[in-house]
């Protein structure tokens, strides 16, 4: 049986796809067979972030409609062993995913994989609800900013009431807070909510804090998940988050203001 983890946020553009790619890769690097599913129907992007956009032949909706098999559709990652991507459809039909169809695909994947990562679309409506419905755990991606924090709380409400686990009265979905795009400098100036501010409001366990980093954009330009950029703070922060997800104790880092030297600034550390 695979563990199903949804990466969700409510608000758009906070770093769900970046985090799904990084965390999925990190889990596979630990030797677990992992598949990352792009649930963002119509706005496929995970393929670009993973650098496999030119190898997409079939997609999630083709599998649900039985136009292709899973093995024809899954894309094997070229860099990381045991990692696969299930691309989203580019169809404009938002109703292309059905609960029954998704369930069938997840059940088939469950036989073969250890972890299934679901990259949710933005919003709190049907698409996002579909991505979280079958989840065992949720990574709630939040930026230290008012609308993102409020939307994260809304999505927590949905996880607690509209998921399969909630509807069936099973043990609730495991919740993890992932704070991304964190600027220690602005927090120190009192311009940005701090880690503990967001923890106080959302009151769920913290999985990690990913600093704002130029490495994220660079990695996405190249189609490399940023966790493979082991020189970058964002990459290392994602590695720590994966370790914590696997139950390891890791202290938080990159939360302090750093005095950057000229050279480091130039290289965009």
């Amino acid at each position: 049986m695979a563990k199903i983890i949804v990466v969700t946020s409510g608000k758009g553009g906070v770093g769900k796809t970046t985090s799904s790619a990084a965390i999925g890769t990190g889990i596979a690097l630990k030797g677990h067979k992992t598949v990352i599913i792009d649930f963002d129907v119509g706005l496929r992007n995970l393929d670009l972030i993973m650098g496999c956009e030119r190898r997409v032949v079939y997609d999630f909706v083709n599998v649900i409609n039985k136009e292709a098999t899973l093995s024809q559709t899954l894309i094997k990652d070229k860099r990381t062993k045991g990692l696969f991507i299930l691309p989203a459809s580019q169809t404009r039909d938002k109703d292309a995913l059905t609960i029954e169809g998704v369930q069938e695909v997840l059940e088939e994947l469950s036989k073969e994989f250890d972890y299934i990562i679901c990259d949710s679309p933005a919003g709190i409506e049907k698409g996002a609800q579909m991505a979280l419905y079958f989840a065992d755990a949720a990574i709630v991606v939040t930026n230290p900013e008012v609308s993102s924090v409020r939307d994260s709380d809304r999505i927590l409400g949905i996880l607690q009431s509209k998921s399969k686990r909630a509807e069936e009265g099973k043990e609730p979905i495991e919740e993890h807070l992932l704070l991304t795009r964190y600027h220690p400098e602005r927090v120190a100036l009192g311009e940005m909510l701090s880690v503990s501010d967001v923890e106080d409001i959302l009151a769920i366990p913290l999985l990690g804090v990913i600093p704002e980093s130029e490495a994220v954009l660079k990695a996405s330009n190249q189609g490399t998940p940023v966790i493979l950029e082991t020189e970058s703070e964002a990459g290392l922060a994602y590695t720590d988050a994966v370790d914590r997800l696997m139950g390891e104790e890791k202290p938080l880092r990159f939360l302090e203001v750093q005095k950057k030297g000229f050279i480091k600034r130039l290289l965009g550390g």
């Binding site: 409020r150 709380d153 809304r154 940005m192 501010d197 106080d200």
Partner: protein, 84 residues
């Protein structure tokens, strides 16, 4: 940040702490609303309709809230009647 901003920021709370206060209020409010049963809005409307048979009030003049404690649930109804 200029020198004047520096002095000002001593008196005024930082914008992050304003953000935190606002978030705490709105999130608490939205959480209680979420935990209320689905029938509450409909019930509120019907109560308003009944009162309106006798007194003219606006929809905002009726506040309704369900509080759950360990022992019992309390339905709190607050109606503001217009001045005579």
């Amino acid at each position: 940040m200029g020198i004047f901003d520096y002095f000002k920021s001593k008196a005024e709370p930082s914008s992050a702490s304003v953000a935190k206060d606002r978030l705490q209020i709105i999130v608490a409010h939205e959480r209680t609303k979420r935990q209320q049963p689905d029938y509450l809005p409909q019930m509120q409307q019907e109560i308003i309709d009944v009162i309106r048979k006798y007194v003219q009030i606006g929809s905002e003049d009726v506040q309704i809230q369900l509080d759950n404690t360990d022992e019992c649930s309390v339905l709190e109804l607050n109606v503001t009647l217009p001045d005579q």
